[in-house]
Amino acid sequence: MRIGVFVCNCGTNIAGTVDTAKVASEALTFADVVYATNYMYTCSEPGQQEIQRAIGEHGLQGVVVAACSPRMHEPTFRRAVEKAGLNKYMFEMANIREHVSWIGNDKAANTAKAADLVRMAVAKLRFNQPLFSSKMPVNKRLLVIGGGVAGIQAALDCADGGMDVVMVERKQYIGGKMAQLDKTFPTIDCSSCILGPKMVDVSQKENITLYASSEIESISGYIGNFTVDIRKKATYVNWDACTGCGACMEKCPAKNTPDVFNENLGSARAINIPFPQAIPKKAVIDARHCRQLNGKKCGVCAKICPVKAIDFEMKDTIVTEKVGAIIAATGYDLFDHSVYGEYGAGRYPDVITGIQYERILSASGPYGGHIQRPSDGKEPKNIVFLACVGSRDASVGRPYCSGVCCMYIAKQAILTKDHLPESNSYVFYMDIRAPGKNYDEFVRRAQEEYGVQYIRGRVAKIYPRGDRMVVQGADTLLGVQVEVEADLVVLATGIESSAGAGELAEKLRISYDQYGFYMESHPKLRPVETNTAGVYLAGACQGPKDIPSSVAQGSAAASKVQSLFAHDTIETNPQVALVNERNCIACGKCIQVCPFGAIQWKELRGGIKKAEVLPTVCQGCGVCNATCPPKAVQLQHATDNQLLAEVNELCA
């Protein structure tokens, strides 16, 4: 084989601590290397042309580029060698940037290590075989997991483009957290007025299939051809029959059911439609609080229902959907402030969270939009807002900024003044983070036009004195301690990842960070892709986000899906396992270890059994290759011979 080696300087990124010219000249001494050079930026247009020129001029049959991580530019160089007429798998990359130049200062040692890595890459390349991909049809249906505003936006964009969309939402209604909000910053437009029409669109579009009260059971397959099992949870109401009339809710005697939609302010019934504009507008029985389902005599709803939709015998069912792409838009949850003993650990009824205050402000909320205290129903005079409760606090494991609290406090303080002109609002803050369009102006309006008192400092303690709450904190600008007697305290609890985010990530085979937020493929340049092809992200599941950013990301993910679905077929990855039937002893170990179910039995003539890899299901992990006793299964492009050649070079 005639091999060419190209050592990249990467400006000074590599050349600063590696003698690239020396690496190139040393490479010329390796077996089969007929050409070697170093170049300023190999990934640049002239750099790629230099590779293509050398392939033609020196009759190269294989190419090694020693540069950055293959994660970054392997596809770039594969395309370059393919254009020059080579098979794109006759190419190897040695990572001498992340693995060498960036992590050591000793130039001599770095140069020697870089040369070693190039030697290994050359040794492997000598065993490379041309590989060819096949084409697979793309199933042009999209699965959206999560029916918040990000998921809704993505679903509607794709549905408008004529694609079939399946939406799965674990709650009984879509709309997510935004459906619980009263008004939105910085325009103070009504949340349900701008979200409602979009929710209605989801329910009315013929090419959107909505599964509410449903969760993802399992996912198999790969880009273009996923198979998804969806668990439709027992609602005890036949939704095909239910008209959403609400007669059952009025008569249900289980009056002490926690009102989850209203954040446990007030109570609901065991059979419930959470809010008037709910989509789908269908009732669900809360099995934990239903009298009938807990062995007591009841069944009132079944008697009252005009369409006989109640079914106490209902069980969870599993439906299977086949899709070509998946958008995860599972949103967020709010920090549980009960870890803050100094703020009462959730003991005081008049110390509430921001989302609870949203429900209080909302006209469809527990108090009909009239601001009152949960404890005694009195109208509050002094209201204190605390920023950064569960944000920017490493002591509770939440060192990050939630990004939305400064804005929603300003909004709530403004609305408070609108509702109760005689009231006083105080905000304890660390810094004001208002970087969006018209955001800082909005906070200034709260301070200047609405007279909200902003106090820069943390609150040390909240405790009751009589029927009021004393908020004891510091004003770090004046350098004094301050005490405010409040009637109502609102904690701006921060954003955390959605409950169960980790388990779903494992089903999707995508990664998540230490806080449970899903990892994008590249923090700047691939913000809605994941490292699993065909799986995209939208909204706060990727990190704290406000409504505009969530919607923008929903549309961005939708556009990625549409560009995928613009193709009728996709190329399969030929770097998969392959069984050499002559060596296979039919022990079945590979079938047992394969995490993707990609290996099955195959019967040859005469009933002889052999293992067979389904190349479209195989993910190329190599577990079967390592397990196979006679080494009959080989992972293409990472065969035993190729790995051993590298090891031999290293140990030589």
């Binding site: 003993g341 009462g344 303690k461 405790y463 009751p464 004393v470």
Partner: protein
């Protein structure tokens, strides 16, 4: 019988002798043998640790070393200040930079020892259930305020006991005696500490708030577990009354005294007579008035 090394500390020799006496009485009642650390010395207190951390660690560490030599694996001290010094010695012994000089000064390592306060010992080794069972003279009808002070549960990384901001262990123990225990917001607020000597107006303000809140919540007594808190709230109560023009009369017994009382011990044996503000109100038997049907500890 559980053997626990007992580090008394200087306060319990003098001003807080009643804390010492009642601690012994209560521990004996629950089958805990207190093994006094032989030839114990000062923990170093504030002067040592503000001068040299190693000196502080070595002073406190010597006591731990003796306790270990006496075959104990747990050291209890009723004083939160001493406890902090003992924990500091353990930290120094585990610190890679300080371990060598520490062992050189003290003569041995102090690995594997558990250091606890009296409150932690009673809460974890005895527990509210056992206390409730042992109560002979329930404090039913009495309203007691639990006050932990700044150090018992803090700093959290050192104390590793209860919630640093909203501790509840003393609440649970007091409830076990049959008393009514309101939610006290100033549980961990500062009493003014040693400012009692130099600036007693600070103590007037800070301890004054604690006493005021106690009265506001209808507390008859404020129960403590720290000799310094006790001193400020009890001995200086007249000064505080003068400072804030109040006429409070709130006894400040130690947790061990209150539990001892509920166990039916003689108040004299518990050193109740040593308190500055008379605790007589606690001796009233209100169980009868509350209704006999409730029986011992029914309020808990």
């Amino acid at each position: 019988m559980k053997r626990v090394a007992y580090y008394k500390g200087c306060s319990l020799e003098g001003l807080a002798a009643e804390y010492d006496r009642s601690t012994h009485a209560v521990c004996e009642a629950f089958g805990i043998e207190l093994v006094e650390i032989a030839d114990w010395n000062c923990c170093g207190s504030t002067p040592a640790h503000s001068y040299d951390p190693l000196l502080s660690a070595a002073l406190a560490g010597r006591n731990l070393a003796i306790a270990a030599d006496q075959g104990c694996d747990m050291v209890m001290t009723p004083c939160p200040g001493c406890l902090k010094s003992l924990k500091g010695a353990q930290e120094a012994c585990e610190d890679p930079g300080l371990r060598k000089p520490f062992v050189e000064l003290v003569g041995r390592d102090v690995d594997g020892l558990k250091t606890v306060s009296l409150l932690q010992l009673l809460y974890e080794e005895v527990g509210p259930v056992a206390i409730k069972k042992a109560v002979r003279r329930p404090l039913t009808g009495h309203v007691l305020i639990p006050y932990y002070g700044c150090l018992l549960t803090r700093p959290a990384q050192k104390a590793k006991f209860d919630d640093p901001e909203n501790p509840v262990s003393m609440d649970r123990l007091l409830e076990a005696t049959g008393a009514l225990v309101p939610d006290f917001p100033y549980k961990t607020e500062c009493c003014g500490a040693t400012y009692g000597v130099t600036r007693n107006d600070f103590v007037g303000k800070l301890s004054g708030r604690i006493l005021d809140m106690t009265a506001r919540l209808g507390g008859e007594a404020i129960v403590v577990a720290c000799p310094l808190c006790q001193q400020n709230l009890d001995m200086r109560q007249d000064q505080i009354n003068k400072y804030q023009k109040s006429a409070l009369h709130l006894p400040v017994p130690y947790i061990s005294q209150v539990i001892g009382l509920a166990l039916g011990m003689d108040p004299k044996e518990l050193g109740m007579d040593k308190l500055c503000v008379s605790p007589d109100i606690l001796f009233e038997d209100r169980a009868e008035a509350e209704g006999k049907a409730q029986g011992p500890g029914a309020a808990a």
